[in-house]
């Protein structure tokens, strides 16, 4: 056991920080830095291209798919530095973290050659068609149907809360291909090109910020069988593998710590007094971010060792949600005045914290898994 960074990764971080210091300041303010905003999404396409030119968009991918076989720690450093500046990759972190790797692991040669190069070049956005009106936390109960008709699937159903559905070029879609099977079986992954005939997309304005959700209504949408990822009815296994490390793939604690810094800077720049209660709240929030960081590192260590996923991923995710919430509390304590202003860092953090326990798997589900798999408590 030891916690130091080796030369390779500390050197990489230093190089990355130099690049970000140079690249971001002139373009990275206000609306552009609000994840999910139109300006952010537009900027992310250009920025991801810049990363790709340096081999930093998909450094962890195997060289045969355009990567550099870098360790999971490289990806962690990359994620940490980018999220601590508000995630200028925008939607693209999903592509590079798990959609691309899922296509590598399960895709045909044709799918790999078609979908992976645009991801590693940074000029494509994917969305994930998972949740449905009646299948949220209980995702496996999804009902969007795909019926085989020769060499196509006919898809009917509704997906909801689909981030970036309005701007994405592709959707990683979960559908039910066997309605008789037990819920976890009978699910299939389809890679759907967008837009496509029969797919209606409408935006659902949200309260978590500029970031909007979308509803995707599929009416007799024809998806070639060639676009199926992995075997029919085995989609649950495919997606579970893909997402197994995704609980720590988005270092939300790094963005929270960044917004805490921004909130303090705003308050001090305006000459506001930060009282003792707020100072204490800052310390507590900062420590929670640090705890989320070290618990995420433990999961990355597992990934680097290629050991099977463990409940440590759930533990890290819970710690991340707690850190987001504590930072929001601290921001409010620091600067009630600025919190009242939309787009202030504290107002933004408040909204992000609201979503933290829901996005990427409900907080309570993580607790269920920790109690059963980590503590060994009996099933209810």
């Amino acid at each position: 056991m030891e916690f130091g960074w080796d030369n390779e990764h500390s050197g990489y971080r230093a190089e990355l920080v130099t690049f970000l210091d140079k690249e971001l300041p002139d373009h990275w303010h206000g609306e552009t830095a609000i994840l999910g905003s139109k300006a952010n999404t537009e900027y992310s396409r250009r920025f991801a291209g810049l990363l790709a030119e340096r081999g930093w968009l998909t450094p962890h991918w195997p060289s045969e798919f355009g990567g550099y076989d870098a360790s999971p720690w490289t990806l962690a450093v990359l994620g940490e530095e980018l999220w601590s500046r508000g995630e200028p990759r925008g939607a693209q972190y999903m592509n590079v973290n798990w959609i691309g790797p899922s296509i590598m692991a399960n895709g045909t040669a044709e799918q790999q050659s078609r979908y992976l190069p645009p991801i590693s070049a940074g000029n494509v956005i994917w969305c994930q068609g998972f949740s449905e009106p009646d299948a949220g936390t209980d995702l496996a109960s999804l009902r969007t149907r795909a019926e085989r008709d020769g060499d196509v699937y006919i898809v009917n159903g509704t997906k909801i809360w689909t981030s970036y559905g309005d701007v994405a070029e592709h959707c990683y879609l979960l559908v039910r291909t066997d309605s008789e099977a037990e819920s976890h079986r009978g699910i299939t992954v389809l890679l759907v090109d967008m837009p496509t005939a029969g797919l209606e997309i409408s935006t659902i304005p949200g309260v978590v910020g500029d970031h909007s959700f979308n509803e995707l209504i599929f009416t007799d949408v024809r998806v070639p069988v060639a676009n199926r990822l992995g075997p029919e009815n085995e989609g649950w296994t495919v997606v579970r593998e893909a997402l197994s490390y995704e609980r720590v793939g988005s270092p939300r604690w790094a963005r929270a710590a960044y917004l805490l810094d921004e909130t303090i800077e705003c308050a001090t720049a305006e000459g506001r007094t930060i009282d003792a209660i707020a100072v204490e709240a800052i310390g507590v929030a900062k420590a929670a971010c640090e705890a989320a960081r070290i618990l995420s590192y433990r999961v990355i260590d597992e990934r680097a060792r290629e050991v099977p996923p463990s409940p440590n991923g759930n533990i890290a995710r819970v710690a991340m949600v707690q850190a987001e919430r504590l930072v929001a509390e601290a921001c409010l304590a620091i600067d009630v005045g600025n919190t009242l202003t939309y787009r202030s860092p504290s107002n933004y953090q408040l909204r992000k914290a609201l979503a933290a326990g829901v996005a990427a798997g409900a907080y309570e589900v993580q607790l269920n898994l920790i109690s059963r798999l980590h503590l060994g408590l009996p099933k209810g």
Binding site: F3, I282, R298, D301, I315, L375
Partner: protein, 308 residues
């Protein structure tokens, strides 16, 4: 970055487990007086004899192995002043032998281990003083918070000024307290998980109720966070890492103390049940931690030039 024990650390863990099974644990603590124990000179002697108390070399910045040893001692409810020896002593110019009490400058009142201490380490804002031997006999205080406690009313002013940065010593004191809290909190959480697994009400195990599961899962997350932050802090030894670890350990203690007692029900009120042996200690450690200067405030001030 490596979260797994190396061969040496595994060997230390195994040897510690053997020693602590024989010379520590809840039964041993009860023999010493339970929640009002006497100092365990016997345990200290065995740890000393096996070389565990000098595991961190003098001057070494990395005291991770020492922190692992302390965690094992705390998990086994050891009752000796080992964390100062393991984590602070390597920063001191001269070796310390025997129990030491660590207090903040200006401290007046009860202090852990003061009745048996051969010396005091007094951590000030600008300096660190080493007071030895203690000039007067120290009166014992009944605290019932799981530690031998003595009343320190007359700390001599002068004595030896140690040529060391007080922030370095405060950092190691904080890391020691954090890892001690982690050990005790792990004991309390493990015990409670066992209790609610065995205890049946409404024809089912209490631990099968989701309300308790969620509460204990949050305890586990908090303790794991404090644990890894403490171990990382022992690796780096920086004031920031130390303050973060102790801040998080204190936050964890707030939920672990309340929830473990709540979930163990009336059994948790009894002296017969081991829970209080760990939880009351956590309260004493928290008090000691806050007395060294609130770590959350320190952490906030280390990160930003805050004025209030």
């Amino acid at each position: 970055m490596d979260f797994h024990l190396n061969d040496d650390q595994s060997a230390i863990r195994d040897a510690m487990a053997t020693l602590l099974t024989r010379h520590a644990g809840a039964t041993r603590l009860r023999h010493l007086g339970g929640d009002d124990p006497t100092y365990d000179h016997d345990l200290e002697r065995h740890l000393e004899g096996a070389g565990f108390l000098d595991i961190a070399e003098a001057g070494s910045a990395n005291r991770l192995d020492a922190a692992l040893v302390q965690e094992a001692i705390s998990l086994a409810l050891g009752t000796a002043a080992t964390s100062s020896r393991l984590l602070i002593a390597p920063s001191l110019p001269e070796a310390i032998k025997g129990p030491v009490s660590v207090v903040a400058e200006g401290h007046r009142g009860p202090a852990r281990f003061a009745t048996d201490a051969v010396a005091l380490i007094v951590i000030g804002q600008r300096d660190v003083r080493f007071v030895a031997p203690l000039p007067l006999s120290v009166e014992r205080v009944v605290s019932r918070l799981g530690w031998p406690v003595g009343q320190l009313d007359d700390v001599p002013e002068g004595d030896v000024m140690i040529d060391v940065d007080p922030e370095e010593i405060r950092a190691w004191a904080r890391i020691g307290l954090a890892i001690e809290m982690v050990g005790a909190m792990r004991f309390a959480t493990d015990l409670t998980v066992g209790y609610v697994t065995d205890r049946k009400q409404f024809n089912r195990a209490l631990g099968s109720f989701q309300a308790l599961q969620h509460g204990l899962a949050e305890c586990a997350v908090a303790v794991e966070g404090a644990r890894w932050l403490s171990l990382e802090a022992a690796h780096y030894g920086t004031p920031q890492a130390a303050a973060a670890a102790l801040t998080h350990a204190i936050q964890a203690s707030k939920i672990v103390f309340g929830r473990t007692h709540q979930y163990c029900g009336a059994m948790g009120f009894t002296q017969e049940f081991d829970l209080h042996l760990a939880t009351m200690r956590v309260v004493a450690l928290r008090a000691e931690a806050e007395a060294l200067g609130r770590p959350a405030t320190a952490l906030a001030r280390q990160g930003w030039a805050l004025h209030s």
